[in-house]
Amino acid sequence: MEGKSASLASRLTSLGMSLTVALGALVVRLWQLQVIQGDYYAQLADTNRLRVHRVPAPRGLVVDRRGVPLVVNRPSFSVSILAMELREPARVLGEVARLLGLPEAEVWARWEAARKRPFEPVRVRRDVGIAVVTVLEERREELRGVVVEAEPVRVYPFGTTGAHVLGYLGEVSAEELEALRPKGYRAGDLVGKAGVERQYDAVLRGDEGEQVVEVDAAGRPLRVLREQAARPGNTLVLSLDWELQREAERQLQGLSGAVVAMDPRTGEVLAMASSPSFDPNAFSVGISPREWKLLSEDRRHPLLNRATAAAVEPGSVFKIVTGLAALQEGRTSSRSTFLCTGSLQLGRWVFRDLQAHGVVDFTAGVAQSCNVMFWLLGRSVGPDGLAAYARRLGFGQPTGVDLPQEAAGVIPDRQYKERTWREPWYPGDTLNMAIGQGFVLVTPLQVARAVSAVANGGTLVRPQVARAVLSPEGRVLRTFPPVVQGSLGLSPSTLAALRRGLEAVVERGTGQAARVEGLRVAGKTGSAETPRGRPHAWFAGYAPAEEPRIAVVVLVEHGYRGGLSAAPIAQAMLSRWWQGQHAAGGLGWSAR
């Protein structure tokens, strides 16, 4: 009996010890969970119960110099999925696809993305109709995890007009996100992809607000714990004059080309049109892959801003450079005369002009666009001199305009030719360069800047499309004063001689189609031979000739003759502008 109870006692002792060890292990585990990892789990518990709703900020407006709204917002609803609340994906996603009229595969793809970020709503569709929103709200309980959020949609009321300057929006790409995440951008956000939407994205974006809401396990909001209102984006005032812009677009209808109008004194861009154009509204709610393919693979390149990003042969408008160089270097003067026989013999090569102009002085040579005279002038200045003056006028490098994606163009010299073509520079190359052929490539905006420098007395100013930034309440936050990029260092007589020639072009020369009743217009036509088809037609000019306040450049691709197809467009632009000058108030705030 004693032995038995001793054995029972020892067995009970070991049972008690094992239980003590087991309970001790639970205490250790509790210490680990509650004390060591307590903060981590506290955070998880908060993630469970707190929903941070993003309150999207309406993007800032874009208006023209007179306040005409060019880009606005329209209220709309987006539908997103919040993975952590979505319990029955098979049923709910199918229902969502049906209600939104989307292929189920697309909704499932979004669900896959949402599962990776279970606490963030992932957008399924923007701009959902009010009928669908009503149904979704009514069936909120059975469609848990489907979230409807108010989110303004970008609207471009003028459609294709000015599309290249205004730009468009798109979902931020993975590469863009790398750089933008620290600034608060998140996957699925819309950002500017082109034009001022892109250039001034930070100005227009605004600060999104947030709402911290406590929810229960069913996702029902119980109370708002914290709230911060969204701050709408700032208003961007452009220097564009919408009347001129619309005129430019009207003139380019059906053509490929570009029109730039700017104030030669300040660099303010008054109009910038590129044709063919596109409708940025198509991008506002997310462009479909098919639409995108059509636009980006269109051989007429509607997305390309021809005013800034298309570098083409300038043809005779480049004679402005040759003329300035020869005058300033003393190779000619307004009193010099030339004999034009219609051709120039260079060794065993004969360079032919369109016609024999006979004896011409400098002014008449410019007016008639006499190739022989400019060949002679170009040869006397030499290729290095031509290149140096071209660069001084801003060719061969981007203008620095406040728009993304600008082409630099090409000003060739000996090194360029040897590097690119592995050939020495021939004397014939100098002749070609003197009349803007050969390897010279320029953008319409570069031409506008150069012609503005001639018009304003020799100052290179940076073209600008932004004029001011206003707070949502209308307070001026920032203005964009003119930026002087350099002085041409030309003597007054040089400028005077060239400007006389340019006036003669419109008065009695090749550019008579640009004449405007009551307005003295100066300019230069160009017909640029191109290996890709009929010559490009150019016109570059300014007005009033005595005190220039507007410079206009027109490029019509394959327009054949500047005087025939480009000068009339310039005429339309200038007369529209001239009408505006006489209307009450003139060009609004442009009176400085």
């Binding site: 029972l8 006692a9 049972l15 239980l19 292990a25 509650q34 789990y41 998880l44 518990a45 406590e214």
Partner: protein, 377 residues
């Protein structure tokens, strides 16, 4: 010197003398656990519409349980053993009846409707098994050490395990096994034999896999990797750990746990009531509850070792094994150390039959304690 006094069983005593023989530490621990449980259950079921939640039915359970406890404490425990055939028969009959006509809830057929009350016979059978095993083991002159001697005990327990497993109630089925092992150990079955039994059970467990319901399988698999399906099968485990961990050292305060009150915790008044305690009372409260259980178990084993007869000892060991198994598996599940098998926390979780049965068990232990030989100095 030491003199032992053995009161005669069934001898009438004054109430005062009886109260003096009560193990007040054991009673105190039990009361403390029931009170903590009542608070946790109320917090877990309180809603803005019904701030008191399930407090009323819980108090009813406590009242019935207290009465049963006193009754069993007053009852001479040997009379339980003498009626073992009746106990075992009624037990089997109730379980069979449950499997046949029981009420189904949460996917399992575990309840018998008796008028307006639902009874969960599997909770009562645990106690019944303890009584019948203890009686049988105490009648032997030597411990069952050979396999042929062990076989009757296995055959005795197996029908209960099977009937409960079919409900299905995996946790209760396993708790029968735990009770059997604990009592065989106390009865002196050699280590080798017990180890062999456990090994055989583990080897045979894959055979039970095909019999498990799909939800049981996913729950067990989710235990291995809760994050494989955080919104599905792994949800309960993850939310329980979040609740306990976020309680920190001092807890968020009673009725202030967000995991609990915002319903992120599932079954927070039954299987996951410990998570409510961990969240609202913190490490301090959770360890306090474990200390109460430790003290409780220590007292019951004390009574077992000083009982007047082996029947009394084995009864106490059986009750201790049952409670220990429930505590370890329930708390282990809440902290992510044990797979979820649906086992409530004794004295604490909401559930009438379980509470009454557990308090009856305490009554039995008190009865054994009151009738042990007194050591007088």
């Amino acid at each position: 010197m030491v003199r032992t006094v053995t009161p005669r069983v069934g001898e009438p005593r004054s109430v005062r003398r009886r109260l003096r023989q009560v193990d007040w530490i054991l009673v105190g621990c039990t009361v403390a656990l029931v009170v903590v449980g009542t608070l946790a259950v109320t917090s877990a079921t309180s809603t803005p519409q019904q701030p008191l939640g399930l407090l009323r039915p819980r108090l009813a359970h406590v009242a019935v349980g207290a009465t049963v406890l006193v009754a069993f404490a007053a009852l001479p425990y040997r009379s339980l053993g003498e009626g073992w055939k009746v106990v075992y028969g009624v037990n089997l009959a109730l379980l069979a009846l449950t499997d046949l006509v029981g009420r189904t809830a949460l996917g399992a057929q575990r309840w018998l409707a008796v008028g307006p009350v639902s009874v969960q016979p599997s909770e009562l059978s645990k106690l019944a098994l303890i009584v019948t095993l203890a009686w049988s083991l105490s009648r032997r002159s030597s411990p069952p050490s050979r396999w042929t001697e062990l076989l009757p005990y296995l055959l005795h327990t197996a029908p209960l395990v099977l009937l409960v497993f079919l409900q299905p109630d995996l946790g209760s089925a396993l708790s029968f096994v735990a009770i059997l092992l604990g009592m065989l150990w106390a009865a002196g079955v050699p280590r080798g034999q017990l180890a062999g039994l456990v090994a055989a059970g583990l080897l045979a467990s894959p055979l039970a896999w095909p019999l498990l319901k799909p939800y049981q399988r996913t729950r067990l698999l989710a235990f291995l990797d809760p994050n494989a399906d955080p919104l599905g099968a792994g949800y309960n485990l993850i939310q329980s750990k979040i609740a306990i961990g976020s309680g920190g050292l001092w807890g968020k305060g009673l009725f202030a746990g967000t995991q609990n009150t915002l319903q992120f915790l599932p079954m927070q008044h039954t299987d996951f009531v410990f998570a409510v305690i961990g969240e609202e009372l913190g490490f301090v409260g959770a360890v306090g509850v474990l200390l109460l259980f430790w003290l409780w178990l220590w007292r019951v084993l004390q009574v077992a070792s000083s009982a007047r007869d082996r029947f009394g000892s084995y009864l106490c060991v059986g009750v201790a094994s049952m409670v220990a198994f429930h505590v370890l598996v329930n708390v282990g599940m809440s902290v992510g150390l044990a797979p979820p098998t649906g086992i409530p926390l004794p004295f604490v979780s909401y559930g009438g039959t379980a509470l009454v049965a557990q308090l009856a068990g305490v009554g039995v232990v008190l009865s054994v304690a009151a009738r042990r030989p007194k050591i007088l100095f």
